[in-house]
Amino acid sequence: MNPFDEIAVEEAVRLREKLKDAVKSIKVVTIGGTKSQETLRTALAMGADSGIHVSLADSDPTPEPLGVAKALRAVIEREKAKTPVDLVILGKQAIDDDSSQTGQMLAGLLNWPQATFASKLVVDAEKKEANVTREIDGGLEELKCRLPLVVTTDLRLNEPRYASLPNIMKAKKKPIEKITPADLGVDLAPRLETLKVAEPPKRVGGGKVENVDQLIEKLKEAGITAVKA
């Protein structure tokens, strides 16, 4: 399982431990070929209640973030029709493409608020609010959000638990629903075209100089105007 998604599942399980009955169900979703089911089993072993496997043929191309977001939206709309969905937690990025787009696109499609790169999540189930601390370049940012909400997880949100044997056994009996993109009315065909892939320019070797005067010469040659003889 993508390590950030593992953190997402762990956070969901911890929320249930904190909020108890306020958390009615934890569902996990994955989109992929036959092997993806195992990822769902791992999530179930960590404490999720049931899984949805949007199944692709093993030969299908890997879905792109927008495709994934559209599929997730369709799944969530389907679920909402049965019971309200209050929180969607995803990893901040996948370690295969490192795009960091799915969560944000999903929030846009659903027209829900989003709190990304979360390093702390506190949910008030009664008020239907959440306080999220996010990691940004300059430090930490605190957001107060209304539910329903999309959250993406950062590394420091939590450390996922080991799956214990009783839970692994129980996970085998938990239900996994299998559906196809067609069932969801979603087209996962790739839309991005790779125009060019290039290596960064090779690092040209440096040179050694004999003394400070030579250093100043070289710097002047390189056009560094601050250098005065």
């Binding site: 399982m1 072993a45 080991y162 214990s164 044997l165 009783p166 056994m169």
Partner: protein, 379 residues
């Protein structure tokens, strides 16, 4: 002298200078899909020549055997300066006495190893580990038997550690702790590793074993945790590999690396603790902990007595008591750590006078002037 001399990817035979650091050899082999047949905590600094001279054991011995089996040839400089070149890359060679065996584990007292030819193993395609919590130590033996039977060739490590040393490891931040729920009622733990050529095949075997253990009428285990990711795999090993460091952080440790029958592991720890208790030494300002952990699969127990300070009183209580205890089980006073300078006086607890006499004769033959590591190994 830290270069790889040759590697044959078909046979897996690696020839290297004695100064190659173990971890660097592992890194060399990785792109060829091979691994070294030994692995230890000191991998980042120990050299293969040293590993050979000390017959290092480590975490993989259960699966890949000892260096006495995996070393195919040695290049040794003898005490008189002659170079003994037996750097063969042959898997089978029954031509005369197998001299290299003398140097493996001789701790440099018969010659200096300068080159090693070793059989490396194909890298496993999948590895998994599990920590099992046992309600009582008596269950370790039947658990080991069952694990060997059901896991068969994919079992690659079987380590044991008692509850007290686990608590010390967590206290001193070695690896991620198991949940309170999982450790409740556990007298000891077993860390089992499987590795093999096909993930699905290994998982099926492991899952079946875990199911059998968990669902049996008289379960051998309370519960266990299974690694779900490379990070968790590493973290579980970190607990086991960090036990030694935790013991050092807790106090001053008296360490005994012994081989005794598997069934006697707990008895050795308990007897030692009782003995110290009878001398009034079990106090916060004297002996704080008596713990045991080790390579169950190899019958090797690391008995650690953690004291507030090293005192002659504690030492007198422990030695020769521990050595005599080990001798009573016909065990080894040094399973893998060797004799060096510190244990020459204890050699007789595990080897007869006849054996020691012949060891001295061999030493005299190779090193009549006694220039090679004087004072080590032989009393």
């Amino acid at each position: 002298m830290n270069k790889v001399r040759s590697f044959d990817p078909v046979s897996g035979i690696l020839v290297a200078d004695a100064g190659c650091v173990l971890e660097s050899l592992s890194e060399y082999l990785a792109p060829h899909n091979h691994i070294m047949p030994l692995d230890l905590g000191a991998k980042g600094s120990c050299q293969i020549g040293g590993n050979v001279s000390t017959n290092a054991g480590g975490l993989r011995l259960l699966r890949y055997g000892s260096l006495h089996g995996s070393v195919l040839g040695l290049e040794v400089v003898l005490p008189d300066g002659t170079i003994l070149d037996q750097l063969s890359t042959l898997r089978k060679d029954n031509t005369g006495y197998d001299l290299k065996q003398l140097f493996i584990g001789a701790e440099g007292t018969l010659g200096i190893v300068t080159g090693v030819s070793i059989l490396t193993a194909p890298a496993p395609q999948s590895a998994s580990n599990v920590i099992l919590a046992l309600p009582k130590f008596e269950n370790v033996l039947p658990l080991f038997v069952q694990a060997k039977r059901q896991l068969s060739e994919i079992l690659s490590a079987f380590e044991f550690f008692d509850r007290e040393v686990y608590d010390l490891a967590i206290k001193h931040g070695q690896g991620r702790a198991l949940s309170e729920e999982d450790v409740e009622g556990a007298e000891c733990f077993v860390l089992m590793e499987t590795s093999g050529g096909k993930r699905e095949h290994d998982e099926e075997k492991l899952n079946q074993l875990l199911e059998t253990l968990f669902e049996s009428d008289k379960p051998l285990i309370n519960t266990g945790v299974l690694s779900q990711s490379p990070a968790q795999f590493a973290s579980m090993w970190a607990i086991r590999e960090g036990l030694t460091e935790a013991v050092s952080k807790e106090g001053k440790a008296y360490k005994y690396d012994i081989s005794v029958p598997l069934a006697k592991f707990k008895e050795v720890v308990d007897t030692t603790r009782e003995h110290l208790g009878s001398k009034g030494l079990l106090r916060d300002d004297a002996v704080k902990h008596v713990v045991g952990y080790g390579h169950v699969g190899d019958g090797n127990l690391h008995l650690n007595v953690v004291a507030a300070a090293y005192t002659p009183e504690i030492e007198a209580a422990l030695e020769p008591f521990v050595y005599e205890l080990v001798a009573s089980y016909k065990g080894s006073v040094s399973a893998e750590h060797g004799i060096g300078v510190m244990k020459t006086h204890a050699l007789h607890y595990s080897k007869s006078n006849v054996s020691i006499e012949w060891m001295k004769r061999i030493k005299q033959l190779f090193d009549p002037k006694g220039i090679m590591n004087p004072g080590k190994v032989l009393p």
